[in-house]
């Protein structure tokens, strides 16, 4: 990688100040995405500001109606957290399937959703569960947070500090893996909340999205088998070496049905 400087601030305020004073500074959390990019010399930050040990970003807490997960919480911590498993078991399952064990030991929920890779797992849970994202400046609903592939509502210098999930016992996540990268070729998080069903799909290509038509179908008492791909907007899908847009769309519908079946 290119030459750069590294800082490990002791507080959120210090971290924000460091990011504010150097335009070329880049926040790093678990670094499991960023490090390979830096090694490939596809980014040239002047400074890395390490968020992983900030006390303000740590911890898993019960909150009214749900659970709050600090942004620096690793995937492994979420996967093995008794609190998370008690409140949103599907979220623990999802976290336990991200990457591989070594990656789960360092990668964090805050880093994942701030990066919003179009094939990442976490954004689907955040969106499907209607979680809210707390940042250093504000609180955002999931719908407002994700704004497209690799794109979020975060402004320069703004940091995700926590994600708050509602309790939900009827939810499931299934990842249909890309045979090479093992990222989600398609990933589906489905949840049944008091407000109704919510289904979020990741891996389509343009970033995570909700399948409203399927949600409405279920809310109207429709059967799982009636959820078919012809109701899925093809505009959500792109193709690559591992699957055409048409194939991804088809698989998405299949995995949605399987995820819903797995919920019961």
């Amino acid at each position: 990688m290119y030459e750069l400087a590294y800082s490990r601030p002791q507080s959120l305020a210090d971290a924000l100040a460091m990011l504010a004073e150097d335009e070329g500074a880049q926040a790093i959390s678990g670094g499991q995405t960023l490090m390979p990019v830096l090694r490939a010399r596809l980014a040239m930050p002047t400074r890395l500001v390490d968020l992983q040990r900030l006390p303000e970003l740590a911890g898993i807490r019960s909150v009214e109606g749900g659970i709050e997960i600090g942004a620096a919480t690793t995937h492994a911590e979420v996967a093995t957290s008794a609190e998370v498993r008690a409140v949103v078991p599907a979220l623990a399952d999802l976290a336990g399937g991200i990457g591989d064990p070594a990656i789960r030991h360092r990668g964090t929920i805050g880093g994942s959703i701030a990066n919003n890779d179009p094939a990442a797992c976490y954004p689907s849970a955040v969106l499907a569960l209607g979680a809210s994202v707390t940042t250093s400046r504000r609180m955002l609903a999931a719908e407002d947070f994700f704004t497209g592939m690799f794109s979020t509502a975060l402004e320069p210098g703004e940091i995700v500090t926590a994600v708050r999930f509602p309790a939900c016992s009827r939810a499931a996540y299934i990842k249909f893996r890309n045979p090479a990268s093992r990222f989600a070729l398609v990933g589906v998080f489905a949840a049944q909340l008091p407000s109704g069903y919510r289904i979020a799909i990741t891996g389509g290509g343009h970033g995570v999205f909700r399948w409203h038509e399927a949600e409405q179908h279920l809310d109207g008492g429709g059967a799982i088998v009636g959820i078919t791909e012809d109701r899925l907007d093809p505009g959500h899908f792109t193709g690559d070496l591992h699957g055409s847009a048409q194939y991804r769309r088809h698989v998405a519908a299949v995995i949605v049905r399987r995820t819903l079946s797995a919920m019961t």
Partner: protein, 157 residues
């Protein structure tokens, strides 16, 4: 350049390093612990796996400066003199290695698996080895070795 302090295999080190140096390069080039290998650039092969504060991580996906203050265990620190760690012994016993290049990372990951899953079955081991590539063994004997090694780690010494 930054001075960092870290414990590696029970020994304390103070090392001056470039901020951009990867942990794996610090271990290999500065501390001359060449057991952790670099097999890819995209954090997927796992040949560089070491334990940082008791957890398996890919040392090619972490800066050395991020390990400031950390306790690190590498393949070189496993055996007690000539007495092998049970997982090392299991890899030998079950022929869980051929060229040996992926082996240090495999063993470090295997120990981590055994800690999290004290009596893993073959399917669990296969799933948990997703981030460690081996080109020689077809994983068949590695899986057997990890199952047996985990078993032995759980037995009283």
């Amino acid at each position: 350049m930054t001075d960092i302090t870290l414990t590696v295999n029970g020994r304390d080190h103070v090392v001056e390093t470039e901020d951009r140096t990867l942990l794996v390069h610090l271990l290999r080039d500065e501390l001359r612990l060449t057991g952790a290998h670099v097999g890819c650039d995209t954090s997927q092969c796992g040949a560089c796996t070491v334990h940082v504060d008791g957890k398996a991580v890919k040392s090619c996906t972490m800066l050395a400066v991020q390990a400031d203050g950390a306790d690190i265990l590498t393949i070189e620190g496993l055996a007690n003199g000539r007495e092998l760690h049970p997982m090392q012994a299991a890899f030998h016993e079950h022929h869980g290695l051929q060229c040996g290049f992926c082996t240090p990372g495999m063993i470090m990951m295997a120990i981590d698996i055994a800690r999290r899953h004290p009596q893993p079955d073959a399917a669990t081991v296969r799933a948990e080895l997703e981030g460690n590539l081996c080109r020689c063994t077809g994983y068949h004997n590695i899986v057997k070795a990890v199952v047996a090694g985990a078993q032995r780690m759980g037995e009283p010494a």
